[in-house]
Symmetry: C2
Subunit: 489 residues, 2 copies
């Protein structure tokens, strides 16, 4: 690769001769790793013209660098970074700058310090990844997705892909969601009541910004999705955690004063509890009494392979107080970053304006590809295939857990992709996860899902979304054996 002449600037007010400055510039480029072995430098004529210096100045600088083995010349083809040039350190600290800004003062707000657990990025390299929320490459319908992506890249769709749509969404995708996706959850909505988001994460974030302030109270399930708790903590609202039982959040435990209730009725996150119909109606009643809104995160509803899921809470809502969050991240893949919000128009209007200010809109290509993937029917067959495979995995999983007598705390009635587990009381699952990782088994400790100081440390989550059936028994055996050896000690 040739090094572009535009990479070179003479620093205004720099010390030393022009020749030295050029020499230094090149040497520093090599030392800092910007220029690599074998890369071609601009010709002396080009560089001289670009910098506005005489050609002999550049030639002298190059000659000096040749002598020092930074550069080598190849007959008639010019100067190259020498194969013997000094090794660049891996992005060393620069000497030319010293930060004088006091960042503890300069930062207006801090956003670090959330509970995002440290998940290994190379999880797919582990033999037994009971890891949640990642895609199984063996299950995904790669060919059809490519087909849809290519179709969306066609000339006909170019404007929809490339244009700045300001605050608008792809009408094809919105129409499909309104006509086909939402009716499956018993939800009737108009296009103006739906907003696309960058995954469920972004949907929850937008909702919190629009509905909550320092003077408002939100209720969350305990345990709950840790990223949701981070979002609510950042919003600085008053936050009340309501412990869930085997049927999800108990409506009668809601605080008497509450503005917004965040809930996951289909598969409680992370316990997998499914809220029965009667409790859903009671929850709506309690919300009405308090004039509170409900945010229903209906993630994973598609993953219902045991029986048809109950209609969404939103479908029972005659007051317009439920805001519904859906996502394609679990069912297509999380890197897609595509979800949606359904709610009354006054709410969607504000969320749309905020989304436009924050990021405008999700990329056109992702929206149109998804619209094709859905409307051509690939999505439904993917879901069916995933359901069949997960059903098999779940069976193998339950058999293995039973055989080893491991304590199951919650499993989805309709399906889902994980089982919520309980280790013996004195086991700290964060330490357990560390020990298992060394043996090739990845599990998810339960602690980050809890808010309370006295939270149990012995829960953990086992997902079967990214581990093949045939690996499950051996993985569970290692887990059981490790647990046994811990408890025996």
């Amino acid at each position: 690769m040739a090094i572009s002449v535009e990479t070179f600037f003479l620093a205004p007010g720099a010390e030393g001769t022009l020749q030295a400055q050029i020499q230094q510039m090149i040497a520093q480029g090599i030392l800092s790793g910007r220029f690599r072995k074998g890369e071609k430098l601009p010709s002396s004529r080009q560089l001289a013209q670009h910098l506005g210096v005489s050609r002999i100045t550049v030639t002298l600088a190059y000659t000096e660098l040749l002598a020092n083995d930074y550069l080598e010349s190849r007959d008639r083809s010019g100067y190259f970074v020498s194969e013997n040039a000094p090794e660049p350190p891996q992005f060393p600290p620069r000497v030319s700058r010293r930060d004088v800004v006091d960042w503890t003062r300069a930062l207006g707000r801090k956003f670090t310090g959330g509970a995002m657990p440290d998940k290994p990025k190379d999880w797919s390299q582990y033999p037994y990844p009971f890891i949640y929320g990642q895609t199984d490459p063996g299950l995904f319908d790669h060919a059809s997705w490519r087909h849809c992506a290519l179709r969306a890249l066609g000339q006909k769709d170019f404007q929809s892909l490339a244009a700045d749509h300001y605050d608008q969404d792809d009408p094809q995708l919105i129409e499909f969601i309104v006509r086909h996706t939402l009716p499956r959850r018993g939800i009737l909505a108009e296009p103006g009541e739906v907003l696309l988001t960058m995954g469920a994460q972004n949907a929850l974030w937008l909702t919190a910004q629009v509905l909550l302030t320092q003077r408002r109270t939100a209720a969350v399930e305990e345990p709950c999705y840790h990223a949701l708790r981070d979002i609510l903590t950042q919003s600085r609202c008053h936050l009340v955690s309501v412990p869930v039982d085997r049927d999800g959040v108990p409506p009668d435990l809601l605080p008497s004063e509450v503005d917004v209730i965040f809930t996951t009725p289909s598969h409680q996150s992370p316990t997998n509890a499914t809220m029965p119909l009667e409790r859903r109606q009671a929850l709506l009643q309690e919300a009405k009494k308090r004039d509170a809104l409900i945010v229903e995160d209906d993630y994973e509803f598609e993953i219902s392979f045991l029986r048809a899921p109950l209609p969404a809470l939103k479908s029972l809502d005659t007051d317009g107080r439920v805001i519904y969050v859906g996502s394609f991240s679990k069912s297509i893949f999380p890197g897609l970053r595509l979800g949606y919000l359904v709610g009354p128009e006054p709410f969607i209007r504000e969320a749309r304006a905020l989304r436009a200010s924050v990021l405008r809109h999700p990329p056109g290509h992702m929206q149109r590809t998804t619209a094709y993937f859905l409307s051509l029917g690939y999505y439904d067959s993917l879901i069916r295939r995933i359901g069949q495979v997960y059903a098999r995995r779940r069976k193998v999983m339950e058999a293995a857990l039973d055989a080893h007598g491991l304590g199951v705390e919650g499993r989805g009635v309709f399906g889902g992709s994980s089982i919520w587990m309980r280790a013996p009381e004195d086991v700290d699952t964060e330490k357990l996860a560390e020990a298992l990782k060394a043996k090739g088994v990845l599990i998810e400790p339960g602690l980050p899902f809890f808010d309370a100081e006295q939270a149990p440390r012995n829960n953990y989550r086992l997902a079967y979304s990214s581990i093949p059936s045939e690996k499950i028994p051996a993985g569970i055996a290692i887990l059981a054996e490790t647990l046994r050896s811990w408890v025996d000690h």
Copy 2:
């Protein structure tokens, strides 16, 4: 298309017989437009099984709907929505729900009401679109982009495309930016000092959230990019507008107390003023005196076809007080939604945590496609081609403006994609734009860029990024003629 059986739910506690409920469900589906003419219904067996009712109940409901011409039966192939079925209204208001939520109270914060000008979405249908910030399909390297997108969709890249990367970016893209893009602006940065964003809009938004609070002061250029002013207004910081002159923002007019200065030194937005080197240094000096940070929006630096651009302000910054915003949206296409922030690590760390909370990361496929497009050299040749075409358009534009004696207020020294114009003083360019639109000419009124109550109403922007050279003279002629007739009245 077949209507999925999962679309059907029996409403709990509904009135009437099961048969009537089923009939109603289907009729309402047709009336609401969810089921369309010619679509196939589930077989009576399937639906009966799904709803847990007897098959005869479903058959009776279907027969009733046949008689009422909602459905038609085709020999042995089942029931379909009749071609004679009642026409659904275009998303009529639903009768079954009445919102009882008081949204004026329920909304914690309002985000609507920004200055986003109303730009026609069908701009490409107009013969003379002097419109800014959209992609010219005739200029884009469609084939190479498809090639890169396909490559990124390959099996090898699947994990990078599909995975949930939490708060991380595509290392390939970051490496290219650090090694090749930033050095062209004279900027040396380490990977930990760069964060990908959903376009420059998202970069500016993240920056405002991290740096500003109600107790901080931000300075913006007057006029400035209206979306930036909306972002800062929403952050509730104290906001000071500093009028720009022909060299951009004058450092000596900065308020004595200021925390963050937002500036566009390369091409002032919207006037196109280019800040000379001496003023850049003076600006850094003044920022230092006030211990203020500078946010440099370096949009469009690639569009420098007249001469090489000056190094970025960030390249002169030895204190670590400049935060740099770059974007691929202008040079590739805005629907891509990909930009980046460069700044000291303590800042990038907070911006990264906030981005993770708001949306996790830009979609993997967009990141990897862009990484290929850059590293395979397509990007540079696209930029060169764009530069050549814009140079020609700009020449034609200037000749036409000269010929008609139209008042130019600002044009980029290095290039850019627009010219900032000044109509005679009594012309309101919002009205002018309306009148011109009716004649097929799209221009952008200047008012939304200004903050002051006494802002001039006679500025406007003419872009040449989406109008072919051969259309320019006729478009400018219509503009000149319209202006003449207005002033004569």
